[in-house]
């Protein structure tokens, strides 16, 4: 495990999470990935079985041969590489397509590095100082700990990057103009942080503003949003529509979507000024053909395989997701960040339930 923490510490000591070119990154990423494979092979019997099922030799394999585990597995099987006593945190993902919930078990080191890496990545966009923070949600979303939702967990996670947390919506999901205007007056002419889930920002903030006819002056704000476009796909809303409407109603131009999943700590891809999602030094992306899941040629949309150097307590370092994306380029984005950059499209459509049992 020292191999991995050494690599992570080294990467964390870099000035920026986007400073390594492909060759430089491979020197650390590939050994890191292989070390994680070895770690989980030795400590997680389920992972051991999957590795062996592929006919691979643990003493002679390449990073690319590391099996990509289906994200769906975490809904069915408890995969963990540490003892029960070492687990300090359980992450859950509410699958939108299934009632079953994925369970991700973190030990103290994995959890600690998750926080460190998130800070390292987001600080490169937000600066080191905690900004006044406006949350595009209602205050109760984090209060009911019993039914603590993925949304609530996301908000709590991001709250550490801000101060004076203020909620932009009231408990009826209507815009709380008094709260927002008070907040704007309190912090004039200085950067503030807005955070919310994409569909919440669209439905309950941008659209609600449009309908009310009011505009807000938030030109100094940076909006971070995540959660995917799935709920907005029916409205055929594109990222650029979203940004244009946001600028029109609030004046916000600094917008960063980000892409990640509960199943893989450490892989947070943040949208740059050019509108692309960037891999950091801690994660990598491969696109597989939508037809047969083989390696897709650059520029072709396909299924995302995502890698992270952080998952030490569970075998989530290389995952086959259900998302589709296109690799736009590597090391040459006009924003100046190095590494791969992609556009995420949508979820792979599920085929209807079949089998003997449906007379539909």
């Amino acid at each position: 495990m020292n191999d991995i923490t050494n690599i992570l510490d080294n990467l964390l000591s870099q000035d920026t999470p986007y400073g390594l070119n492909a060759a430089q990154k491979a020197l650390m990423f590939k050994p890191g990935l292989k070390a994680l494979t070895r770690l989980h092979f030795d400590n997680c019997i389920g992972y051991h079985n999957i590795f062996a099922a592929n006919g691979l030799d643990i003493n002679d394999f390449t990073a690319q041969q590391t099996p990509a585990l289906s994200v769906q597995l975490f809904k069915h099987n408890e995969l963990v590489s540490v003892s029960k006593e070492q687990v300090i945190k359980t992450l859950t993902s509410s699958g939108t397509t299934s009632q079953q919930v994925a369970k991700i078990l973190l030990d103290a080191p994995t959890s600690r590095y998750q926080t460190k890496v998130l800070v390292h990545i987001l600080q490169s966009f937000l600066g080191k100082k905690r900004l006044p923070m406006l949350i595009i949600d209602h205050p109760n979303v984090i209060k009911d700990r019993q039914s603590f939702s993925a949304r609530g967990a996301g908000i709590v996670g991001l709250s550490t990057f801000g101060r004076d947390h203020t909620y932009a919506l009231d408990n009826n999901m209507a815009i709380d103009f008094a709260a927002i205007k008070g907040f704007i007056e309190k912090y004039p002419n200085q950067p503030i942080l807005l955070f919310g889930f994409t569909f919440m920002v669209w439905q309950h903030f941008i659209e609600a503003l449009n309908q009310s006819g009011e505009t807000l002056d938030l030109a100094q704000a940076i909006l971070l949003h995540s959660g995917g476009w799935k709920k907005l796909q029916r409205q055929a809303l594109s990222n650029s529509d979203f940004k244009a409407a946001l600028e029109q109603t609030t004046g916000i131009t600094g917008v960063h979507n980000f892409y990640g999943m509960a199943e893989q700590v450490g892989s947070v891809l943040v949208e740059c000024e050019q509108g692309y999602l960037h891999c950091s030094n801690f994660s990598d992306i491969h696109i597989q053909s939508s037809e047969d899941l083989s390696d897709a040629p650059p520029g072709q949309a396909g299924v995302v395989v995502i890698e992270s150097l952080l998952p030490m307590s569970y075998p989530g370092h290389r995952l086959l997701t259900e998302d589709t994306a296109t690799l736009i380029g590597e090391d040459d984005c006009q924003c100046g960040r190095l590494g791969k950059y992609i556009l995420v499209h949508n979820r792979v459509a599920r085929t209807q339930a079949r089998g003997c049992s449906d007379v539909g």
């Binding site: 597995l73 086959l320 079949r354 089998g355 003997c356």
Partner: protein, 429 residues
Amino acid sequence: MSADTITVLAPKGCSYLAFIETEPAMFAPFSVESIALVSEFSQRLMSDSRAKSFGDLIALAYWFRKAHLFELKQNFINQNQGCRRQARGLAFHITPANVDTMFVYSLFLSLLVGNSNIVRVSSKKSQKQDIIIDVLNQLLCDTTNTTSNNPAAQSVLIINYPHNSQINDELSQLADIRLIWGGDQTIKTLSQSSTKPTCIDLKFADKYSSALIDASVLKDAGEQTFNQLVSHFVNDAYLYGQQACSSPRTVFWLNGEKQQAIIERFWRCVDGVLNEKRHTFDHGIQTADQLNKVTKSQQLAIDYGVTFKSVNLRWVTCVEFANAPISQDARALHCGNGLFYQVALKQLNDLASMLADNEQTLSYFGLEHKQISHALEHKQISHALEQAAGAVNRIVPIGCALTFSTVWDGYDLPQSLTCEYHKGNKSKH
């Protein structure tokens, strides 16, 4: 009120209410009228230009050709020497979505033995179903031809409706026999609707099918035999996206341990045929199917220690079980769309212990039917003591797994669809 949600697909323009309020027309088994109607359908479908590209539609038309109908009639007569049988009355068919021709087999066998029929078909979009319904409507509604005046034409109503317990209740109350296709879940749903005390149910539960190949024989087979086997296997497995109950999911390899090379070649060739033909199958092979197979095979590796035998193949996923028999839980993980479980058999006598209670079809290559049934006898006998059902229902050559037969899931359909004649046994609505 329930009539509002019911769509009558055939005969076009026929009223659901009028149909159910009319005394069902019943005929003697294999009457001139019913044979005329069914064989006319067969001819029309056979010559329909749209049907030509669908092998299973041609197979359907061929199965109901006049000569075969007379054969069925003769079998029925031979089987019932010295006793007279009659139709049961109104048959309610609840047909499956996975095999779009199945409802026709169910309907026509019932019609041939003289029943009146209400068929609920899937509302899933299906080109093949549309063609069949269209041909039926030509037959039943075109007043210029003789068949629409055929009284048997009054004995068919094809409908669909969304999942609706009230309509299920209503039709179940009217039925003298229900044919419940569509597996365990449908059987469970329909069991909630009460029926007349005299009504009988034919239940077609979830089934599991396998193939048996003698690897040594395959190794010595000529190129042509090998290719034909691959092509037959692909058809059995993929025509309905491996969702038909009789499509093979497990492959047992007799002498498999010694013949790894030929087994690998077999899967490579299956993969190659799929690469060419996958678009011609019902569902194709979609991204979600491919992802599903990754998930399931990894689950099988975690839970059962299987090994992957198709790492470099594009369309086939094959996992090998070292520890057979394959448990029910492992079978339940099967997702279709080209996932195969593989087991090596040292000797044929080991086969019996590998099969489960819900085994339907065993398709084979390189062996004789007699050898297999003999090897399974022990299983059948020991099993009969515990439970009447179970064991293998059909043993057919690979390539015939989807071929319909009048005995299905242990029911002799012409017999089950009729009862012994006695006076005044006519059903009332």
